[in-house]
């Protein structure tokens, strides 16, 4: 029972004592029970349940006669909380006091005495009594630890043991010291060591709250947290209010609140003052607060324009909702950031980090529409002063980073310059590839320069050499291209692109030598071609044989010509294909038209396989063979039959040849035949079908092109994707249809293929007669307008489109959208839109 009381479990103590007394019914057991009840009364008083404690006191006084003798002791318990300690402490002067009574008194001191001052001044004990002396020492230590830093030695208290009534006070002092040292872990450990039933435990919630834990606080604890916990608790609500004012763009109140926030921050949390001023100034700029008003709100406080500020400002200008000019402004801020970051050693002057910044700036400039870029740059340059206004009142160090007017460099407006700088500071393959890709897309004329720079930085990289070779080939500098190819071959002879390039270039050089009638050189070229291993693939041997035939046509005998011509037919295993190849090669080598015999196809032979094979060979060797005019009718007839040719790549090449010859009907038919074949070629045939359709068949055209794109994307056919992109560029002036970016499902693609395969006949529809711009072709008389039910012209054609939209977006969404469209303007009064910053080019902040 004594253990229960010592542990503060008075309920268990009372239960145990009741059982003992029930069995014994002796005076000793009654005394034991009264002891337990007294402990219970003390516990109730400790929990602020004074009324319950009094009731219990009255009950035991009536039940147990021995309790009456201890009434003064019980009453003294009520006095302890009011600071009347004499009654409870006086027994300590009795030298015959039992250990149990002493322990009970100590327990009461530990749990009830929260005012050490009263204990220290208690006159009932001698001035040198250990209790009074320790209370005085603890009080002095509490004053010290809450008034400034203290040594651990001052809080050692070796005289206070674990069983002392002051053990929790010792732990409390150490917890407070740890809190002020911001040693959260130690503070928490000390708090855990405090007995929760003792008086010092009252301070635990406040300390825990100041450590950042969520606690329920009494008013006094709350006040303590606000006073000692610093800083954040006062500042936080003010910051929240200012956030709301910025959000609502209530600038008048925001100006007042900024003053308050700055003052509070300076007093409570000076460590974030600079950052706060920077954030406020940028937020104010975003919200459109005039600089003079901001300055007034800051009460003359100077906002530090360091790297952090410029980074903040740059990011705020990247908002896609702002005027495109803001992107140039953002780049100019990033440039300021770069210089400050280098000064602050946040970034090195060169290296991948700075390159990343340049690349980011290049991305930003690329976001400006191409057609606006030039004019925006011109406007920007005229007004740009190097952000002079931001440097006013700044320290000499900060001003030292500012560029004087004469030295302002606006390189940041040009992606090519930014990309070049990125390659300079971080010469890696990815950066060069990016620079090259950008110039190829935007300024092809300088792509060769970029490839040279790339090759100079990475002499062992084949890719720039291949780019240089392609460029030289395109500009007809075949020998130069050949030299680059040889360099690439030296570095990576097994590269398939290099191997293919050697064959292609040798053929092109040979053809050029034939064009210039250079017999010896062309002979050397043919010999070189004949020993190439890649010539063994496909029908390539037949192409070289055709070149041999050209040689005999120029410098050989009739017998040679016939032999070589027959050799081509033999290699191609088709007289038809041989005639097309010979004619194509002759034209490429610029042989006079009259020296080549006119084409005459055998009447019983099928033309499609032969012509397809010839076209495929031409495409493989980089030449565009033509389909002879006399073959069209027979080709149409053969392609319309159900007997499909197996050579789909050849058929595709034939379709391309038909498109080049602008024979739309043949191309259309070839596409139809191809779509009926193996699915692997469907993407290419859909593209041929799209191009061959008459321009007024817009829906079919768009569907074919979208399906072709989708399939090419899935098959990673970059060549076809490029072709589709170029076609869109040429046809739509670079404007992709609205659905170009959307992907099609497999079902949608299959539906298009199915529909197009069924449509074997070339469309017989005619274009709509063109109308003047102001004439929609509909009668505007009242009767006709009534018949149209007020709908816009062409509305009836939207029915199919609406069905599609219902399939795609669901009927509810479409219904809601139509309701919104036709319900007329909303009756809600529109709020006047506040003008944001930089919504026009007049709003640039300098």
């Amino acid at each position: 029972m004594a253990r229960f009381i010592a542990n503060g479990d008075s309920s268990s103590a009372v239960e145990a004592a009741k059982k003992i007394h029930k069995r014994s019914k002796s005076a000793a057991s009654e005394a034991l029970l009264v002891d337990a009840y007294i402990a219970r009364i003390a516990a109730l008083i400790g929990r602020n349940l004074e009324a319950e404690a009094r009731n219990l006191m009255e009950r035991i006084r009536g039940l147990y006669p021995s309790a009456r003798a201890r009434l003064p002791e019980i009453k003294a318990l009520f006095g302890v909380r009011k600071g009347a300690l004499d009654a409870i402490l006086s027994p300590l002067n009795d030298p015959l006091l039992t250990e149990d009574r002493r322990a009970a008194i100590y327990k009461i001191i530990a749990c009830q005495v929260s005012d050490l001052d009263v204990l220290a001044e208690c006159q009932v004990l001698a001035a040198e009594h250990p209790l009074r002396k320790t209370a005085r020492d603890l009080l002095t230590a509490l004053k010290a630890v809450t008034s400034g830093p203290v040594d651990d030695q001052a809080l050692a208290f070796p005289e206070i043991s674990r069983h002392s009534p002051f053990a929790s006070w010792k732990m409390l002092l150490r917890a407070i010291a740890a809190f002020y040292r911001q040693d959260k872990e130690l503070c928490e450990r000390c708090l855990t060591a405090i007995d929760p039933q003792t008086a010092p435990a009252l301070l635990a919630p406040a300390l825990r709250a100041m450590l950042g834990q969520k606690q329920t606080l009494t008013p006094a604890s709350d006040l303590l947290v606000k006073q000692a916990g610093g800083s954040f608790e006062t500042l936080r609500p003010r910051l929240q209010k200012l956030d709301q004012l910025f959000e609502r763009r209530n600038m008048a109140q925001a100006v007042r609140e900024i003053r308050e926030v700055i003052g509070t921050c300076r007093g409570n949390c000076p460590v974030i003052l600079e950052r706060l001023k920077q954030h406020i100034s940028v937020r104010a700029l975003i919200a459109g607060l005039q600089p003079d008003k901001l300055q007034s709100a800051l009460q003359g406080e100077v906002v530090l324009r360091d790297a952090y500020f410029w980074r903040l400002l740059a990011r705020s200008s990247e908002d896609p909702m702002l005027h495109p000019n803001a992107l140039l402004v953002a780049c100019s801020f990033w440039e300021e950031f770069r210089r400050h970051a280098v000064r602050e050693a946040l970034l090195p002057a060169a290296g991948p980090e700075v390159a990343t910044l340049y690349l980011h700036m290049a991305d930003l400039v690329d976001r400006i529409p191409e057609e606006e870029r030039s004019s925006l740059r011109n406007q920007f340059v005229i007004r740009f002063d190097g952000h002079e206004q931001f440097y006013r009142n700044q320290s000499a160090e900060i001003r030292g980073v500012m560029l004087p007017r004469g030295k302002i460099d606006t390189y940041f407006m040009f992606p090519e310059k930014l990309l070049e700088r990125a390659c300079q500071v971080d010469p890696c393959v990815e950066n060069f590839q990016r620079w090259f890709d950008w110039t190829t897309r935007n300024y092809p004329a300088i792509s060769e320069y970029v490839a040279r720079r790339w090759s100079a930085a990475f002499p062992k990289d084949v890719r720039p050499l291949l780019h240089l070779m392609d460029h030289a080939e395109k500009t007809n500098s075949l020998q130069k291209a050949f030299d680059f190819m040889q360099q690439a071959e030296f570095l990576d002879g097994l590269n398939p692109q290099v191997r293919k390039a050697r064959l292609r270039l040798l053929v092109s050089i040979a053809v050029r030598h034939f064009q210039k009638k250079k017999a010896r050189l062309s002979e050397l070229d043919l010999e070189a071609l004949e020993v190439l291993p890649q010539i063994e693939q496909g029908d390539r041997k037949a192409f070289v044989a055709a070149l041999r035939w050209v040689s005999s046509m120029l410098w050989g005998s009739q017998a040679e010509r016939e032999t070589r011509s027959a050799n081509v037919a033999k290699l191609l295993n088709s007289e038809v294909a041989a005639q097309v190849v010979l004619r194509g090669v002759a034209r490429a080598c610029k042989l006079p038209g009259n020296v080549v015999a006119p084409i005459a196809f055998p009447p019983a032979t099928k033309l499609v396989p032969g012509i397809a094979r010839a076209c495929a060979l031409g495409a493989d060797m980089g030449f565009q063979f033509e389909i002879p005019d006399i073959a069209y009718a027979r080709l149409m007839q053969e392609l319309s039959s159900s007997d499909l040719p197996a050579n789909l790549p050849g058929l595709a090449a034939m379709g391309e040849a038909a498109l080049r010859a602008e024979n739309w009907i043949l191309a259309y038919t070839v596409a139809g035949a191809g779509l009926a074949g193996n699915p692997t070629g469907h993407a290419g045939f859909l593209f041929i079908r799209a191009v061959s359709l008459p321009p007024w068949e817009v829906r079919r055209h768009d569907a074919c092109l979208a399906a072709a794109s989708e399939l090419a994307r899935r098959q990673r056919d970059h060549g076809l994707l490029d072709k589709i992109g170029q076609w869109r560029d040429s046809e739509l002036d670079g404007i992709a249809p609205l659905d170009a970016g959307l992907s099609m499902s497999s079902e949608q693609v299959n539906k298009v293929i199915e529909q197009e395969t069924e449509q074997r006949e070339y469309p017989k529809s005619n274009p709509q007669p063109s109308l003047p711009d102001d004439d929609d072709g509909y009668c505007d008389c009242p009767k006709c307008r009534r018949e149209r039910a007020g709908m816009p012209p062409g509305f009836e054609a939207l029915e199919a489109m609406l069905d599609d939209m219902v399939d795609e977006f669901g009927s509810k969404n479409i219904e809601a959208a139509l309701n919104e469209i036709f319900a007329g303007p909303s009756k809600q009064k529109k709020k006047k839109r506040r003008r944001g910053p930089w919504e026009s080019d007049r709003d640039i902040p300098f």
Partner: protein
Amino acid sequence: MPDDPRQVLGIGTEANDEEIRAAYLQKVKEFPPDRSPAEFERVRDAYEKLRDPRQRARNMLLSIDPKQPLVALLEGRASRPKFIGPDSWLAVLREKRS
């Protein structure tokens, strides 16, 4: 949502190579792979992301949000305690008595 690698390693946005490596080694000691494999994996992933200076620079450039609530400036900062003397502390102890 993926973890912020800097938060995983417990470093600021402007930590350099050495600081990142030191933080990584510290975390590996805290979460060795044999005892905390999942946590170790997180730490390792975070370090891999931060090792690349380009990725790190990109994170640094874009991590700042000018529209973030101003209160966010207080996040991650320990509030500096103030020495106010014993009165307010004692007031909490006395509060129960009244």
